[in-house]
Protein backbone atom coordinates (compact mmCIF):
# COMPACT_ATOMS: atom_id res chain seq x y z
CA UNK A 1 0.00 0.00 0.00
CA UNK A 2 1.36 3.41 -0.95
CA UNK A 3 2.15 5.71 1.92
CA UNK A 4 2.33 9.44 1.64
CA UNK A 5 5.91 10.70 1.44
CA UNK A 6 7.72 11.75 4.55
CA UNK A 7 9.74 14.30 2.64
CA UNK A 8 9.52 15.45 -0.94
CA UNK A 9 11.84 17.47 -3.16
CA UNK A 10 9.98 19.34 -5.89
CA UNK A 11 12.12 20.42 -8.82
CA UNK A 12 14.95 21.44 -6.57
CA UNK A 13 17.98 23.26 -7.95
CA UNK A 14 20.90 24.32 -5.85
CA UNK A 15 24.07 26.28 -6.32
CA UNK A 16 26.21 27.80 -3.64
CA UNK A 17 26.69 31.23 -5.17
CA UNK A 18 25.13 33.45 -7.77
CA UNK A 19 26.12 32.31 -11.25
CA UNK A 20 28.09 29.45 -9.73
CA UNK A 21 27.80 25.93 -11.10
CA UNK A 22 24.65 24.03 -10.31
CA UNK A 23 25.36 21.34 -7.75
CA UNK A 24 21.89 19.84 -8.05
CA UNK A 25 19.56 20.26 -10.99
CA UNK A 26 15.87 19.70 -11.19
CA UNK A 27 15.78 17.08 -8.48
CA UNK A 28 12.47 15.39 -7.83
CA UNK A 29 12.53 12.85 -5.06
CA UNK A 30 10.43 11.55 -2.27
CA UNK A 31 11.02 9.28 0.65
CA UNK A 32 8.19 7.58 2.44
CA UNK A 33 7.80 6.43 6.02
CA UNK A 34 9.58 3.20 6.80
CA UNK A 35 11.77 3.51 3.70
CA UNK A 36 15.47 3.93 3.31
CA UNK A 37 17.54 5.22 0.44
CA UNK A 38 21.22 5.26 -0.35
CA UNK A 39 22.65 8.19 -2.29
CA UNK A 40 25.44 7.01 -4.54
CA UNK A 41 27.99 8.88 -6.53
CA UNK A 42 31.55 10.11 -6.68
CA UNK A 43 33.13 12.04 -3.88
CA UNK A 44 32.26 15.70 -4.38
CA UNK A 45 29.37 15.03 -6.72
CA UNK A 46 26.79 16.54 -4.36
CA UNK A 47 25.70 13.73 -2.07
CA UNK A 48 26.28 15.69 1.13
CA UNK A 49 24.61 18.70 -0.45
CA UNK A 50 21.52 16.64 -1.21
CA UNK A 51 21.47 15.28 2.33
CA UNK A 52 21.80 18.76 3.80
CA UNK A 53 18.97 19.96 1.60
CA UNK A 54 16.75 17.21 2.89
CA UNK A 55 17.87 17.89 6.46
CA UNK A 56 16.99 21.56 6.13
CA UNK A 57 20.54 22.79 6.58
CA UNK A 58 20.62 24.15 3.03
CA UNK A 59 17.85 25.92 1.21
CA UNK A 60 17.23 25.20 -2.44
CA UNK A 61 18.05 27.95 -4.92
CA UNK A 62 14.94 26.93 -6.84
CA UNK A 63 12.17 24.53 -6.02
CA UNK A 64 10.97 23.39 -2.63
CA UNK A 65 11.51 20.71 -0.07
CA UNK A 66 8.12 19.81 1.32
CA UNK A 67 6.70 17.74 4.15
CA UNK A 68 9.95 17.70 6.05
CA UNK A 69 9.26 15.87 9.34
CA UNK A 70 9.58 17.58 12.70
CA UNK A 71 12.32 15.43 14.11
CA UNK A 72 15.35 14.94 11.93
CA UNK A 73 18.58 13.31 13.01
CA UNK A 74 21.54 14.33 10.88
CA UNK A 75 24.97 12.78 11.24
CA UNK A 76 27.48 14.83 9.24
CA UNK A 77 30.34 13.17 7.45
CA UNK A 78 32.72 14.68 9.98
CA UNK A 79 31.49 15.46 13.45
CA UNK A 80 32.70 18.92 14.61
CA UNK A 81 34.90 17.77 17.47
CA UNK A 82 36.64 21.11 17.85
CA UNK A 83 34.52 22.03 20.84
CA UNK A 84 35.35 22.38 24.52
CA UNK A 85 32.38 20.41 25.83
CA UNK A 86 32.78 16.99 27.40
CA UNK A 87 30.91 14.10 25.79
CA UNK A 88 28.27 13.94 28.49
CA UNK A 89 27.78 17.68 28.66
CA UNK A 90 27.51 17.94 24.89
CA UNK A 91 24.95 15.15 24.58
CA UNK A 92 22.96 16.56 27.49
CA UNK A 93 22.92 19.99 25.86
CA UNK A 94 21.89 18.57 22.48
CA UNK A 95 19.17 16.48 24.14
CA UNK A 96 17.91 19.57 25.89
CA UNK A 97 17.95 21.53 22.62
CA UNK A 98 15.89 18.71 21.14
CA UNK A 99 13.31 19.19 23.86
CA UNK A 100 14.23 16.46 26.31
CA UNK A 101 14.33 17.31 29.97
CA UNK A 102 14.52 15.85 33.46
CA UNK A 103 14.87 12.14 33.93
CA UNK A 104 14.06 11.49 30.27
CA UNK A 105 17.08 13.47 29.23
CA UNK A 106 19.38 11.78 31.72
CA UNK A 107 18.16 8.29 30.84
CA UNK A 108 18.32 8.87 27.08
CA UNK A 109 21.84 10.28 27.19
CA UNK A 110 23.02 7.45 29.43
CA UNK A 111 21.37 4.84 27.19
CA UNK A 112 23.06 6.08 24.04
CA UNK A 113 26.41 6.51 25.74
CA UNK A 114 26.22 2.92 26.87
CA UNK A 115 24.98 1.55 23.57
CA UNK A 116 27.66 3.32 21.56
CA UNK A 117 30.34 2.49 24.11
CA UNK A 118 30.93 6.14 24.99
CA UNK A 119 30.87 5.66 28.78
CA UNK A 120 34.68 5.56 29.10
CA UNK A 121 34.77 8.99 27.46
CA UNK A 122 32.00 10.53 29.57
CA UNK A 123 34.08 13.41 30.92
CA UNK A 124 36.52 13.69 28.04
CA UNK A 125 36.41 16.84 25.96
CA UNK A 126 35.23 16.39 22.39
CA UNK A 127 38.45 17.92 21.10
CA UNK A 128 40.45 15.19 22.86
CA UNK A 129 38.49 12.28 21.43
CA UNK A 130 39.80 9.92 18.77
CA UNK A 131 38.10 10.66 15.46
CA UNK A 132 36.03 7.49 15.40
CA UNK A 133 34.79 8.12 18.93
CA UNK A 134 33.91 11.71 18.12
CA UNK A 135 31.92 10.44 15.16
CA UNK A 136 29.96 8.21 17.52
CA UNK A 137 29.04 11.30 19.55
CA UNK A 138 27.69 12.71 16.29
CA UNK A 139 25.62 9.58 15.82
CA UNK A 140 24.33 9.70 19.38
CA UNK A 141 23.17 13.32 19.14
CA UNK A 142 21.13 12.45 16.06
CA UNK A 143 19.35 9.63 17.87
CA UNK A 144 18.63 11.28 21.22
CA UNK A 145 15.09 11.86 20.09
CA UNK A 146 13.73 9.08 17.88
CA UNK A 147 14.01 10.67 14.44
CA UNK A 148 11.26 10.66 11.84
CA UNK A 149 14.03 11.05 9.32
CA UNK A 150 17.57 9.88 9.96
CA UNK A 151 20.24 11.22 7.64
CA UNK A 152 23.66 9.58 7.70
CA UNK A 153 26.41 11.15 5.64
CA UNK A 154 28.95 8.47 4.71
CA UNK A 155 28.27 6.35 7.79
CA UNK A 156 30.82 3.76 6.80
CA UNK A 157 33.59 6.28 6.54
CA UNK A 158 34.36 7.52 10.02
CA UNK A 159 33.16 4.87 12.43
CA UNK A 160 34.94 1.94 13.97
CA UNK A 161 34.03 -1.56 12.86
CA UNK A 162 31.66 -2.22 15.75
CA UNK A 163 29.64 0.89 15.00
CA UNK A 164 29.63 0.14 11.27
CA UNK A 165 28.07 -3.19 12.11
CA UNK A 166 25.55 -1.47 14.37
CA UNK A 167 24.37 1.04 11.78
CA UNK A 168 22.08 -1.28 9.77
CA UNK A 169 20.45 -2.26 13.06
CA UNK A 170 19.89 1.38 14.00
CA UNK A 171 18.47 2.08 10.55
CA UNK A 172 16.10 -0.82 10.91
CA UNK A 173 14.91 0.47 14.27
CA UNK A 174 14.14 3.89 12.80
CA UNK A 175 12.25 2.29 9.94
CA UNK A 176 10.28 0.01 12.23
CA UNK A 177 9.17 3.10 14.13
CA UNK A 178 7.85 4.55 10.88
CA UNK A 179 10.80 6.79 10.19
CA UNK A 180 12.79 7.06 6.99
CA UNK A 181 16.52 6.85 6.53
CA UNK A 182 18.72 8.55 3.97
CA UNK A 183 22.33 7.46 3.65
CA UNK A 184 25.14 8.59 1.39
CA UNK A 185 27.82 6.20 0.30
CA UNK A 186 30.76 6.48 -2.02
CA UNK A 187 32.52 3.38 -0.76
CA UNK A 188 30.16 0.91 -2.35
CA UNK A 189 28.87 -0.45 0.94
CA UNK A 190 25.27 -0.59 -0.20
CA UNK A 191 25.16 -4.33 0.38
CA UNK A 192 24.83 -3.48 4.06
CA UNK A 193 21.38 -2.08 3.28
CA UNK A 194 20.05 -4.61 0.81
CA UNK A 195 16.49 -3.29 0.67
CA UNK A 196 17.31 0.39 0.40
CA UNK A 197 16.36 2.41 -2.62
CA UNK A 198 19.31 3.68 -4.58
CA UNK A 199 19.59 7.27 -5.72
CA UNK A 200 22.47 8.09 -7.99
CA UNK A 201 23.94 11.56 -8.49
CA UNK A 202 25.96 12.51 -11.54
CA UNK A 203 26.43 15.94 -13.09
CA UNK A 204 23.94 17.44 -10.68
CA UNK A 205 21.20 15.08 -11.77
CA UNK A 206 19.69 12.53 -9.46
CA UNK A 207 18.18 9.33 -10.72
CA UNK A 208 16.23 6.99 -8.55
CA UNK A 209 16.58 3.28 -9.12
CA UNK A 210 13.29 1.53 -8.66
CA UNK A 211 12.55 -1.01 -7.43
CA UNK A 212 15.18 -1.53 -4.82
CA UNK A 213 18.18 -3.58 -5.78
CA UNK A 214 17.12 -6.70 -3.94
CA UNK A 215 13.59 -6.62 -5.29
CA UNK A 216 14.83 -5.91 -8.77
CA UNK A 217 17.35 -8.68 -8.76
CA UNK A 218 14.86 -11.13 -7.42
CA UNK A 219 12.08 -10.17 -9.77
CA UNK A 220 13.96 -9.46 -12.95
CA UNK A 221 17.27 -11.23 -12.71
CA UNK A 222 20.69 -9.84 -13.39
CA UNK A 223 22.24 -9.10 -16.75
CA UNK A 224 25.82 -8.70 -17.82
CA UNK A 225 26.95 -5.78 -19.94
CA UNK A 226 30.31 -5.76 -21.66
CA UNK A 227 32.13 -2.47 -21.72
CA UNK A 228 35.12 -1.41 -23.76
CA UNK A 229 37.29 0.80 -21.63
CA UNK A 230 40.65 2.45 -22.30
CA UNK A 231 43.04 0.87 -19.85
CA UNK A 232 43.96 4.13 -18.23
CA UNK A 233 40.31 4.68 -17.37
CA UNK A 234 39.58 1.24 -15.97
CA UNK A 235 39.90 2.28 -12.34
CA UNK A 236 37.61 5.24 -12.84
CA UNK A 237 34.97 3.26 -14.70
CA UNK A 238 35.03 0.51 -12.10
CA UNK A 239 34.62 3.12 -9.40
CA UNK A 240 31.76 4.74 -11.36
CA UNK A 241 29.95 1.47 -11.73
CA UNK A 242 30.38 0.51 -8.11
CA UNK A 243 29.34 3.95 -6.97
CA UNK A 244 26.20 3.54 -9.06
CA UNK A 245 25.46 0.34 -7.19
CA UNK A 246 26.48 -2.13 -9.87
CA UNK A 247 28.64 -5.14 -9.35
CA UNK A 248 31.87 -5.32 -11.26
CA UNK A 249 32.52 -8.99 -11.79
CA UNK A 250 35.95 -8.90 -13.28
CA UNK A 251 38.57 -6.81 -15.03
CA UNK A 252 40.56 -8.51 -17.73
CA UNK A 253 43.06 -7.45 -20.29
CA UNK A 254 42.58 -8.16 -23.97
CA UNK A 255 45.14 -9.52 -26.37
CA UNK A 256 45.92 -6.58 -28.69
CA UNK A 257 46.73 -8.96 -31.53
CA UNK A 258 43.14 -10.13 -31.48
CA UNK A 259 41.93 -6.70 -32.41
CA UNK A 260 41.97 -7.42 -36.10
CA UNK A 261 40.73 -10.97 -35.93
CA UNK A 262 37.37 -12.58 -35.93
CA UNK A 263 36.42 -12.26 -32.27
CA UNK A 264 36.62 -8.53 -32.66
CA UNK A 265 33.72 -8.55 -35.03
CA UNK A 266 31.91 -10.82 -32.67
CA UNK A 267 32.42 -8.43 -29.84
CA UNK A 268 31.14 -5.53 -31.88
CA UNK A 269 28.19 -7.56 -32.94
CA UNK A 270 27.53 -8.36 -29.35
CA UNK A 271 27.30 -4.66 -28.61
CA UNK A 272 24.58 -4.31 -31.21
CA UNK A 273 22.70 -7.56 -30.99
CA UNK A 274 21.19 -9.11 -27.91
CA UNK A 275 23.02 -12.27 -27.02
CA UNK A 276 21.20 -13.38 -23.97
CA UNK A 277 22.87 -16.16 -22.12
CA UNK A 278 25.83 -16.30 -24.48
CA UNK A 279 29.05 -17.26 -22.83
CA UNK A 280 31.45 -16.65 -25.62
CA UNK A 281 30.68 -13.03 -26.32
CA UNK A 282 32.77 -12.00 -23.41
CA UNK A 283 35.74 -13.59 -25.05
CA UNK A 284 35.53 -11.23 -27.94
CA UNK A 285 38.45 -8.90 -28.39
CA UNK A 286 37.59 -5.26 -28.81
CA UNK A 287 38.33 -5.23 -32.45
CA UNK A 288 36.99 -2.01 -33.82
CA UNK A 289 36.26 -0.60 -30.42
CA UNK A 290 38.69 2.29 -30.33
CA UNK A 291 39.50 1.83 -26.71
CA UNK A 292 41.05 -1.50 -27.41
CA UNK A 293 39.46 -3.11 -24.42
CA UNK A 294 36.20 -4.74 -23.60
CA UNK A 295 34.31 -5.27 -20.44
CA UNK A 296 31.02 -6.36 -19.07
CA UNK A 297 28.83 -4.92 -16.41
CA UNK A 298 25.66 -6.60 -15.40
CA UNK A 299 22.34 -4.88 -15.15
CA UNK A 300 19.10 -6.09 -13.74
CA UNK A 301 16.04 -6.79 -15.76
CA UNK A 302 13.61 -4.58 -17.43
CA UNK A 303 12.58 -1.94 -14.95
CA UNK A 304 13.61 1.38 -16.34
CA UNK A 305 15.60 3.89 -14.39
CA UNK A 306 13.38 6.51 -12.85
CA UNK A 307 14.38 10.02 -13.60
CA UNK A 308 14.67 10.56 -17.28
CA UNK A 309 16.94 13.52 -16.85
CA UNK A 310 19.73 11.35 -15.56
CA UNK A 311 22.71 10.66 -17.77
CA UNK A 312 22.30 7.03 -16.91
CA UNK A 313 20.31 4.80 -19.20
CA UNK A 314 18.39 1.69 -18.54
CA UNK A 315 19.46 -1.53 -20.14
CA UNK A 316 16.78 -4.15 -19.95
CA UNK A 317 17.85 -7.74 -19.73
CA UNK A 318 18.26 -9.07 -23.20
CA UNK A 319 18.88 -5.73 -24.82
CA UNK A 320 21.97 -4.88 -26.80
CA UNK A 321 25.09 -6.06 -25.16
CA UNK A 322 23.34 -7.31 -22.07
CA UNK A 323 23.01 -10.90 -21.09
CA UNK A 324 20.88 -12.28 -18.33
CA UNK A 325 22.55 -14.24 -15.60
CA UNK A 326 21.50 -15.82 -12.42
CA UNK A 327 21.40 -13.18 -9.69
CA UNK A 328 23.05 -15.43 -7.23
CA UNK A 329 25.83 -16.24 -9.61
CA UNK A 330 26.35 -12.60 -10.42
CA UNK A 331 26.47 -11.72 -6.78
CA UNK A 332 29.07 -14.34 -6.14
CA UNK A 333 31.22 -13.18 -8.94
CA UNK A 334 30.73 -16.34 -10.94
CA UNK A 335 28.14 -15.54 -13.52
CA UNK A 336 29.17 -18.34 -15.72
CA UNK A 337 29.57 -16.01 -18.62
CA UNK A 338 33.08 -14.82 -18.21
CA UNK A 339 35.21 -14.94 -21.29
CA UNK A 340 38.00 -17.36 -20.68
CA UNK A 341 39.99 -16.98 -23.85
CA UNK A 342 41.26 -13.52 -23.05
CA UNK A 343 44.09 -13.14 -20.59
CA UNK A 344 43.02 -12.30 -17.07
CA UNK A 345 43.91 -8.88 -15.76
CA UNK A 346 45.07 -10.02 -12.41
CA UNK A 347 41.75 -11.66 -11.70
CA UNK A 348 38.53 -10.04 -10.58
CA UNK A 349 38.69 -7.34 -7.99
CA UNK A 350 36.45 -8.84 -5.32
CA UNK A 351 34.16 -9.81 -8.17
CA UNK A 352 30.54 -9.38 -7.41
CA UNK A 353 31.23 -7.47 -4.22
CA UNK A 354 30.79 -3.73 -4.21
CA UNK A 355 34.17 -3.05 -2.75
CA UNK A 356 35.89 0.28 -2.66
CA UNK A 357 36.97 1.72 -5.95
CA UNK A 358 40.59 1.13 -5.14
CA UNK A 359 40.03 -2.54 -5.69
CA UNK A 360 40.28 -1.99 -9.38
CA UNK A 361 43.59 -0.23 -9.17
CA UNK A 362 45.27 -3.20 -7.66
CA UNK A 363 44.05 -5.56 -10.31
CA UNK A 364 44.51 -3.46 -13.40
CA UNK A 365 47.77 -4.04 -15.19
CA UNK A 366 49.08 -1.73 -17.86
CA UNK A 367 47.75 -2.45 -21.30
CA UNK A 368 44.28 -3.20 -22.59
CA UNK A 369 41.72 -4.29 -20.04
CA UNK A 370 38.07 -5.09 -19.92
CA UNK A 371 35.50 -4.61 -17.23
CA UNK A 372 32.84 -7.13 -16.42
CA UNK A 373 30.20 -6.15 -13.95
CA UNK A 374 26.86 -7.16 -12.58
CA UNK A 375 24.26 -4.64 -11.60
CA UNK A 376 21.26 -5.80 -9.64
CA UNK A 377 19.59 -2.45 -10.02
CA UNK A 378 17.00 -1.63 -12.60
CA UNK A 379 19.19 0.70 -14.59
CA UNK A 380 22.84 0.74 -15.35
CA UNK A 381 25.10 3.72 -15.63
CA UNK A 382 27.13 2.87 -18.65
CA UNK A 383 29.71 5.46 -19.40
CA UNK A 384 32.39 3.23 -20.73
CA UNK A 385 34.42 4.99 -23.26
CA UNK A 386 32.67 8.17 -22.35
Amino acid sequence: MWQSPLVRLDRVWLRYRYRGPWILRDVELELGPGRSAVVLGHEGVGKSTLLQLVAGVLRPTRGTVRDRPATIGWVPERFPADQPHTVHRYLTAMGSIRGLSGSDLVATVDDWMERLDLEPYRDVRLSALPRETAQKVGLAQALLQPPDLLILDEPWEGFDEATRELIPELIEEVREDGGAVLVSDHRGETDRLPDAEQWTIADGLVSVVFPTAAEGAEAEGVSVIELAVPTFRVAGVVADLRAAGHQVLRVRSVDPSAETTGPAAEAVETEETPTVGSADAAAGAPGEVPAGTTGRAAAAGSAPAVGATSPTHAVPAGSAGARGVDPGAAGSGAPGTAGESAPRAGGPARAGTPAGPTGADATTPPGPSSVTGAAPGAGVASRAGG
Binding site: V57, R59, F79, P80, P84, H85, A93
Partner: protein, 227 residues
Protein backbone atom coordinates in the same frame (compact mmCIF):
# COMPACT_ATOMS: atom_id res chain seq x y z
CA UNK B 1 16.47 28.11 23.91
CA UNK B 2 18.08 28.31 27.35
CA UNK B 3 20.18 25.20 26.73
CA UNK B 4 21.23 26.58 23.35
CA UNK B 5 22.32 29.87 24.93
CA UNK B 6 24.05 28.04 27.77
CA UNK B 7 25.91 25.85 25.29
CA UNK B 8 27.13 28.87 23.34
CA UNK B 9 28.16 30.75 26.44
CA UNK B 10 29.92 27.65 27.76
CA UNK B 11 31.90 27.30 24.56
CA UNK B 12 32.76 31.00 24.61
CA UNK B 13 34.05 30.88 28.16
CA UNK B 14 35.78 27.47 28.06
CA UNK B 15 37.69 28.31 24.92
CA UNK B 16 38.86 31.51 26.65
CA UNK B 17 37.60 33.59 23.75
CA UNK B 18 35.75 35.70 26.28
CA UNK B 19 39.03 36.92 27.74
CA UNK B 20 40.42 39.21 24.99
CA UNK B 21 37.40 41.53 24.68
CA UNK B 22 36.96 41.63 28.44
CA UNK B 23 40.63 42.51 28.93
CA UNK B 24 40.54 45.07 26.14
CA UNK B 25 37.42 46.64 27.59
CA UNK B 26 38.92 46.88 31.07
CA UNK B 27 42.19 48.34 29.81
CA UNK B 28 40.35 50.92 27.69
CA UNK B 29 38.11 51.96 30.57
CA UNK B 30 40.97 52.24 33.04
CA UNK B 31 43.15 54.24 30.66
CA UNK B 32 40.25 56.47 29.69
CA UNK B 33 38.94 57.19 33.16
CA UNK B 34 42.03 56.90 35.34
CA UNK B 35 41.96 59.93 37.65
CA UNK B 36 39.94 61.87 35.08
CA UNK B 37 37.54 63.23 37.66
CA UNK B 38 34.82 63.98 35.15
CA UNK B 39 31.08 64.21 35.66
CA UNK B 40 29.33 60.85 35.67
CA UNK B 41 27.17 61.60 32.64
CA UNK B 42 30.15 62.66 30.55
CA UNK B 43 32.24 59.68 31.69
CA UNK B 44 29.50 57.21 30.85
CA UNK B 45 28.85 58.70 27.43
CA UNK B 46 32.51 58.22 26.58
CA UNK B 47 32.49 54.67 28.05
CA UNK B 48 29.65 53.71 25.75
CA UNK B 49 31.60 55.00 22.74
CA UNK B 50 34.68 53.02 23.73
CA UNK B 51 32.73 49.88 24.47
CA UNK B 52 30.85 49.90 21.16
CA UNK B 53 33.65 48.33 19.05
CA UNK B 54 34.55 45.96 21.88
CA UNK B 55 30.98 44.73 22.16
CA UNK B 56 30.80 44.24 18.39
CA UNK B 57 34.09 42.33 18.39
CA UNK B 58 32.91 40.25 21.34
CA UNK B 59 29.73 39.34 19.48
CA UNK B 60 31.69 38.22 16.44
CA UNK B 61 34.00 36.13 18.61
CA UNK B 62 31.09 34.51 20.39
CA UNK B 63 29.19 33.65 17.23
CA UNK B 64 32.38 32.37 15.59
CA UNK B 65 33.23 30.06 18.50
CA UNK B 66 30.85 27.34 17.40
CA UNK B 67 32.09 25.27 14.44
CA UNK B 68 29.97 25.67 11.30
CA UNK B 69 28.87 22.05 11.35
CA UNK B 70 27.79 22.33 14.98
CA UNK B 71 25.72 25.37 14.08
CA UNK B 72 24.07 23.29 11.36
CA UNK B 73 23.41 20.47 13.81
CA UNK B 74 21.61 22.94 16.04
CA UNK B 75 19.64 24.19 13.02
CA UNK B 76 18.50 20.63 12.34
CA UNK B 77 17.73 19.98 16.01
CA UNK B 78 15.99 23.22 16.91
CA UNK B 79 15.20 25.03 13.69
CA UNK B 80 16.89 27.86 11.86
CA UNK B 81 15.06 30.68 13.61
CA UNK B 82 15.73 29.32 17.09
CA UNK B 83 19.38 28.88 16.25
CA UNK B 84 20.05 32.45 15.20
CA UNK B 85 17.83 33.95 17.88
CA UNK B 86 19.75 31.88 20.42
CA UNK B 87 23.05 33.20 19.07
CA UNK B 88 21.91 36.82 19.24
CA UNK B 89 20.52 36.40 22.74
CA UNK B 90 23.76 34.81 23.91
CA UNK B 91 25.72 37.73 22.44
CA UNK B 92 23.33 40.18 24.06
CA UNK B 93 23.72 38.52 27.45
CA UNK B 94 27.52 38.58 27.26
CA UNK B 95 27.38 42.24 26.27
CA UNK B 96 24.94 42.98 29.05
CA UNK B 97 27.38 41.47 31.52
CA UNK B 98 29.94 44.11 30.52
CA UNK B 99 27.60 47.02 31.22
CA UNK B 100 27.81 46.88 35.05
CA UNK B 101 31.57 46.60 34.73
CA UNK B 102 31.63 49.67 32.52
CA UNK B 103 29.43 51.53 35.00
CA UNK B 104 31.58 50.57 37.99
CA UNK B 105 35.11 51.04 36.63
CA UNK B 106 35.01 54.87 36.36
CA UNK B 107 34.18 55.09 40.05
CA UNK B 108 36.93 52.64 41.00
CA UNK B 109 39.72 54.43 39.13
CA UNK B 110 38.76 57.96 40.01
CA UNK B 111 37.26 58.71 36.64
CA UNK B 112 34.17 60.29 38.17
CA UNK B 113 34.20 63.20 40.55
CA UNK B 114 31.97 62.70 43.57
CA UNK B 115 28.98 65.01 43.00
CA UNK B 116 27.95 67.63 45.51
CA UNK B 117 24.36 66.48 45.52
CA UNK B 118 23.57 62.78 46.11
CA UNK B 119 20.78 62.79 43.51
CA UNK B 120 23.29 63.43 40.72
CA UNK B 121 24.76 59.99 41.24
CA UNK B 122 21.47 58.33 40.41
CA UNK B 123 20.92 60.58 37.40
CA UNK B 124 24.43 59.90 36.15
CA UNK B 125 23.98 56.14 36.52
CA UNK B 126 20.60 56.22 34.75
CA UNK B 127 21.99 58.19 31.81
CA UNK B 128 25.04 55.92 31.71
CA UNK B 129 22.83 52.85 31.66
CA UNK B 130 20.76 54.36 28.85
CA UNK B 131 23.89 55.14 26.80
CA UNK B 132 25.29 51.62 27.20
CA UNK B 133 22.00 49.89 26.53
CA UNK B 134 21.60 51.86 23.31
CA UNK B 135 25.10 50.91 22.18
CA UNK B 136 24.59 47.21 22.94
CA UNK B 137 22.00 46.13 20.32
CA UNK B 138 23.79 48.07 17.60
CA UNK B 139 27.09 46.46 18.54
CA UNK B 140 25.50 43.00 18.64
CA UNK B 141 23.95 43.59 15.23
CA UNK B 142 27.24 44.75 13.74
CA UNK B 143 29.14 41.83 15.29
CA UNK B 144 26.55 39.36 14.03
CA UNK B 145 26.75 40.81 10.54
CA UNK B 146 30.52 40.29 10.66
CA UNK B 147 30.30 36.74 12.00
CA UNK B 148 31.34 33.70 10.00
CA UNK B 149 27.77 32.51 9.77
CA UNK B 150 26.81 35.58 7.77
CA UNK B 151 29.75 36.18 5.46
CA UNK B 152 31.33 33.96 2.86
CA UNK B 153 34.95 34.80 3.71
CA UNK B 154 36.65 35.62 7.01
CA UNK B 155 38.18 38.74 5.46
CA UNK B 156 34.72 40.10 4.72
CA UNK B 157 33.82 39.72 8.38
CA UNK B 158 36.85 41.67 9.52
CA UNK B 159 36.16 44.37 6.93
CA UNK B 160 32.53 44.67 8.01
CA UNK B 161 33.62 45.05 11.61
CA UNK B 162 36.29 47.66 10.87
CA UNK B 163 34.19 49.64 8.40
CA UNK B 164 31.17 49.46 10.71
CA UNK B 165 33.08 50.87 13.65
CA UNK B 166 34.86 53.50 11.54
CA UNK B 167 31.58 54.48 9.91
CA UNK B 168 29.93 54.79 13.31
CA UNK B 169 32.58 57.25 14.44
CA UNK B 170 32.85 59.18 11.16
CA UNK B 171 29.15 59.45 10.37
CA UNK B 172 28.41 60.12 14.01
CA UNK B 173 30.43 63.33 14.15
CA UNK B 174 28.50 66.46 14.99
CA UNK B 175 29.17 67.91 11.53
CA UNK B 176 28.03 64.75 9.71
CA UNK B 177 25.38 65.26 7.05
CA UNK B 178 24.33 61.61 7.17
CA UNK B 179 24.25 60.79 10.89
CA UNK B 180 21.38 58.38 10.34
CA UNK B 181 23.72 56.03 8.46
CA UNK B 182 25.41 55.08 11.73
CA UNK B 183 24.14 54.08 15.15
CA UNK B 184 23.92 57.20 17.35
CA UNK B 185 26.75 56.25 19.67
CA UNK B 186 28.53 59.61 19.45
CA UNK B 187 25.25 61.52 19.51
CA UNK B 188 24.25 59.71 22.69
CA UNK B 189 27.62 60.58 24.26
CA UNK B 190 27.10 64.24 23.39
CA UNK B 191 23.57 64.18 24.74
CA UNK B 192 24.73 62.44 27.91
CA UNK B 193 27.32 65.10 28.58
CA UNK B 194 24.84 67.92 28.11
CA UNK B 195 21.98 66.09 29.74
CA UNK B 196 19.45 64.73 27.25
CA UNK B 197 16.12 66.44 26.75
CA UNK B 198 12.99 64.35 26.43
CA UNK B 199 12.94 64.78 22.66
CA UNK B 200 16.59 63.87 22.33
CA UNK B 201 16.02 60.82 24.51
CA UNK B 202 13.16 59.61 22.32
CA UNK B 203 14.82 60.39 19.00
CA UNK B 204 18.15 58.82 19.89
CA UNK B 205 16.48 55.75 21.35
CA UNK B 206 14.37 55.33 18.23
CA UNK B 207 17.36 55.89 15.96
CA UNK B 208 19.48 53.32 17.82
CA UNK B 209 16.73 50.70 17.88
CA UNK B 210 15.82 51.21 14.23
CA UNK B 211 19.45 50.98 13.14
CA UNK B 212 19.92 47.82 15.21
CA UNK B 213 16.78 46.28 13.79
CA UNK B 214 17.92 46.96 10.22
CA UNK B 215 21.35 45.47 10.81
CA UNK B 216 19.90 42.40 12.50
CA UNK B 217 17.46 42.05 9.61
CA UNK B 218 20.47 42.11 7.31
CA UNK B 219 22.05 39.39 9.40
CA UNK B 220 18.90 37.31 9.22
CA UNK B 221 18.79 37.83 5.45
CA UNK B 222 22.36 36.66 5.04
CA UNK B 223 21.69 33.67 7.29
CA UNK B 224 18.79 32.68 5.07
CA UNK B 225 21.27 32.20 2.25
CA UNK B 226 23.96 30.49 4.24
CA UNK B 227 23.76 27.36 6.32
Amino acid sequence: MISMIRMRLGGFVWTARAVPPLAAGLVALVVLHGRAGAEATEAYGVSAVVLFPILAWQTKLLLDTEPDTQRRLVVVAAGRRAEFVGGLLAAGLVGLALVPVALAVPWLVGGVAVPDRPGEVGTGLAIGLWAHLLALPAAVGLGALASRAAVTRPLYGVMILICGVAGTFVFGLEESVVPWLAPPVLAVARASTAGPTGTEFALLTGHALLWSALVIAGYVGLRQRRA
